[in-house]
């Protein structure tokens, strides 16, 4: 997985426009969801890692999104579901671009244990761009802030 800052940055730039303001947070949540449900277990209780095998798979995440959507008010359920799905999809696309030395992602779980990835970069490569991501976000927020002040 790329780090969550990289995932967040991608989600941030895709939905920074005010058109997405209402459900932007749900999209962000979707984009970190695959890792926040599985990685803490993996890191804190590595012996239980085998219980997280299913959690980073499209089928599991699809059902989890439906489950989470049910926790929202019926008037906003459809939007929440769509933004969650899109967020998770963005996460999986970024993960697909990586390469792993061993293991990988089970895209077709539970039907197949085959792994596949495009292999453009190692999981730790985007980490080197951490200062770039933070600067870009701060610059963008600065520009939006200036525009807003000028508009007032």
């Amino acid at each position: 997985m790329p780090d969550l800052l990289t995932h967040y940055t991608a989600a941030y730039f895709l939905t920074r426009s005010s058109a997405f303001l209402r459900f932007r947070a749900v999209f962000y949540f979707g984009t970190i969801l695959p890792d926040i449900i599985s990685r803490p277990v993996y890191i804190l209780f590595p012996k239980l890692a085998v219980y997280t095998v299913a959690m980073h798979t499209p089928v599991f995440l699809f059902i989890l999104c439906l489950f989470l959507t049910e926790l929202f008010h019926k008037e906003i359920k459809e939007n929440v579901r769509n933004y969650l799905f899109m967020g998770v999809l963005l996460h999986l696309i970024l993960d697909l671009l990586q390469k792993h030395h061993v293991g990988g992602y089970f895209w077709f779980f539970p039907f197949s244990w085959k792994t596949f990835e495009i292999g453009l970069f190692w999981p730790d490569t985007p980490l080197q761009l951490t200062p770039v991501w933070i600067s870009l976000i701060l610059m963008t927020e600065g520009i939006y802030y200036m525009k807003k002040r000028k508009g007032v």
């Binding site: 969550l4 800052l5 995932h7 890692a49 095998v53 989890l64 539970p110």
Partner: protein, 155 residues
């Protein structure tokens, strides 16, 4: 009971059934993943050395380098310390690594390939901040109504 109350109750019961169905489906997937995961682990090899002698295994769950020797190094995983024979460069004790090795029944591993995840600790640290930020933004946009058990938009 009025028709309206009955409809509300039916709606609530339906929602509970839907939530339970998704929850059970997720549990089934978790247990399927746990029980049918086809990989051979280091733990399995150490528990049944005769059976797994000569098996090629990929190990990547929380392995750190313990000590470096001239002919290889030792790794630590789940409290086990195991010798790996083979040349490894740029490796330091404490590094997180992934390994592809051949298991030998007398308790050592023959190195085939490896990858050092040098910045793993930094990666974890960098990931915590966006996770907290997203949860904050989510709770800023939505509040949870415990009585109705739903998230609602804050206005």
């Amino acid at each position: 009971m009025s028709l309206r109350v009955r409809l509300i109750n039916n709606g609530r019961q339906f929602r509970i059934v839907v939530l339970l169905t998704y929850f059970i489906a997720m549990l089934l997937l978790i247990f399927y993943g746990k029980n049918f995961y086809p990989a051979i682990t280091l733990e399995m090899c150490l528990n049944q050395p005769e059976r797994y002698d000569g098996s090629q295994i990929d190990i990547g769950t929380e392995i750190t380098v313990d000590k470096i020797y001239q002919d290889g190094f030792t790794i630590k995983q789940f409290g086990h310390i195991v010798k790996v024979k083979g040349r490894a460069e740029n490796m330091e004790p404490g590094d997180f690594i992934t390994l592809s090795v051949v298991f030998h029944k007398d308790g050592w591993l023959e190195l085939k390939s490896y990858h050092i995840a040098k910045k793993r600790r930094f990666k974890i640290a960098v990931s915590i901040f966006p996770a907290l930020l997203v949860i904050y933004l989510l709770l800023k946009s939505f509040s949870f109504d415990f009585k109705r058990f739903v998230f609602e938009e804050r206005h």
